[in-house]
């Protein structure tokens, strides 16, 4: 994965926080994701296909996920329920959708998105497909920390 490809995903994440959550997400140091890294308690994943292939995964501690959803809805939810999962899925959908538009621009056919998937719990591991390179970006915000992971390749000729 070219490191440059991560920038649209970072920009999209920051835009989501600014426009819909009245917050500011600040990124930390970009690194290769370690297979041994412990995922946070709530993780949303979405696939990219068509002129590119990749996966966007964004993972949150419970308190960050709750803070984001409560900020968006003006609610006071205290447990990760279906509403929180739904919101987290929508967040990764928005981030991936916004980033893919930045990546394809107006010159390439649009990249397609899969429907998002959410994993909840504290006792799971994520096994990355062999050969894939994942870039990891930690973020901080007033709603709490979270982590963005992306693997992405444009198809040859795209």
């Amino acid at each position: 994965m070219q490191v440059d490809y991560i920038n649209p995903f970072i920009e999209s994440t920051c835009e989501l926080f600014t426009t819909m959550l009245s917050s500011e997400a600040q990124r930390g140091t970009i690194s290769l994701a370690s297979p041994e890294a412990n995922p946070r308690e709530v993780m949303a994943l979405i696939g990219l296909s068509g002129m590119a292939r990749g996966i966007v995964a964004i993972s949150f501690p419970v308190n960050t996920a709750l803070g984001m959803v409560n900020r968006l809805l003006g609610s006071d939810t205290k447990v990760v329920d279906d509403v929180v999962s739904d919101a987290i899925a929508e967040f990764v959908n928005i981030i991936a959708g916004s980033a893919k538009a930045r990546l394809s621009g107006n010159d390439r056919p649009p990249i397609d998105l899969s429907l998002p998937t959410v994993v909840r719990g504290s006792n799971y591991t994520v096994d990355y497909p062999s050969g894939s390179t994942w870039i990891e970006v930690p973020f901080t915000s007033d709603l709490g920390p979270f982590t963005l992971r992306v693997t992405f390749e444009m198809k040859p000729g795209a």
Binding site: T19, D86, N93, G97, S98, A101, P110, L115
Partner: protein, 122 residues
């Protein structure tokens, strides 16, 4: 004034219903995919439809085409993460009146709803 909100995300439907409320539209039905949207528009005459693009069973763009093929002419605003210019053009060709790209600021979508309704009723 009656509106239909179509999105597979319950949270996004709630956000959009809030935006409609700020635009003084409180009589709102919900659909979770394109198939439900088409059925709802066959059963009820809506003054406005807010339509997501990526949904299970039937994409929003296909639902727009079907609704128009069924002779329905209410304003439809696409509210979607699909931000590429070609997608916007496809939606407008299919019969959508306007296009809102997620993420959006709540005030922005309220003003877009008001503008589309003013044009439709003007």
């Amino acid at each position: 004034m009656k509106a239909l909100v179509v999105d597979d995300s319950a949270v996004m439907r709630k956000v959009l219903i809030g935006a409609l409320s700020r635009a003084k539209i409180t009589d709102v039905d919900q659909a979770t995919d394109g198939v439900e949207a088409v059925s709802a528009t066959e059963a009820t005459d809506y003054d406005l439809v807010l339509m997501d693009w990526n949904m299970p069973n039937m994409l929003g763009i296909d639902a727009v085409r079907t609704i128009r093929a069924n002779g329905k002419s209410m304003p439809i605003i696409m509210v979607t993460t699909e931000a590429e210019k070609s997608r916007v053009i496809d939606a407008l060709k299919a019969g959508a009146q306007n296009y809102v790209i997620k993420p959006f600021e709540p005030a922005a979508i309220v003003s877009k709803i008001q503008a589309v309704l003013a044009k439709a009723n003007g």
